[in-house]
Amino acid sequence: GAGVSQSPSNKVTEKGKDVELRCDPISGHTALYWYRQSLGQGLEFLIYFQGNSAPDKSGLPSDRFSAERTGGSVSTLTIQRTQQEDSAVYLCASSSPWVGQFFGPGTRLTVL
């Protein structure tokens, strides 16, 4: 596609359930990022994939969060045993050197 896509656009889940969020980056972009943004807050870096290198997981808030990127393209962010504080908009972005990051529309996660 022409831009970064994310699915689902909205997800409502019950506390304790697992969720999977998907990101399809722009074709050919080597880097992929996941961010989290709570209401009225700035972007919180979660994880970064660059090519075939080991991902930078330094932003993941707990071991309930994990992400993978298959075949250097699609990425899935998984949150296990969701908590209410996980409620936020989860943004994915992709980039290549010297072109900047382009963001997907985000997934709004609500944990009841």
Partner: protein
């Protein structure tokens, strides 16, 4: 650790005013500085700056980078209500490859 500080945190102006948003940064190995506009969910890309003193311009928006003093400004002239948004600044680190974002400036343009 890379760091980006934006100022002011928020700004309220009237249509037709000119605004200047500031971004200062610390980064180990600078690659680029990026400006984004965020209205609803996702930030949209505005500018990428890599060289000092070269102004990037798009319509009423312009931006310039000073790599010696480690800051950038984003100017918006003849503001319109549609310019109301959060403006985000980010720096890319060459070695790490990842970006560090500031907390943003919330601009409100009143009719």
């Amino acid at each position: 650790e890379d760091k980006v500080v934006q100022s002011p945190l928020s700004l309220v102006v009237h249509e037709g005013d000119t605004v200047t948003l500031n971004c200062s940064y610390e980064v180990t190995n600078f690659r680029s500085l990026l400006w984004y506009k965020q209205e609803k969910k996702a930030p949209t890309f505005l500018f990428m700056l890599t060289s000092s003193g070269i102004e990037k311009k798009s319509g009423r928006l312009s931006s310039i980078l000073d790599k010696k003093e480690l800051f950038s400004i984003l100017n918006i002239t003849a503001t319109q209500t549609g310019d109301s948004a959060v403006y985000l600044c980010a720096v890319e680190d060459t070695n790490a490859g990842k970006s560090t974002f500031g907390d943003g400036t919330t601009l409100t343009v009143k009719p």
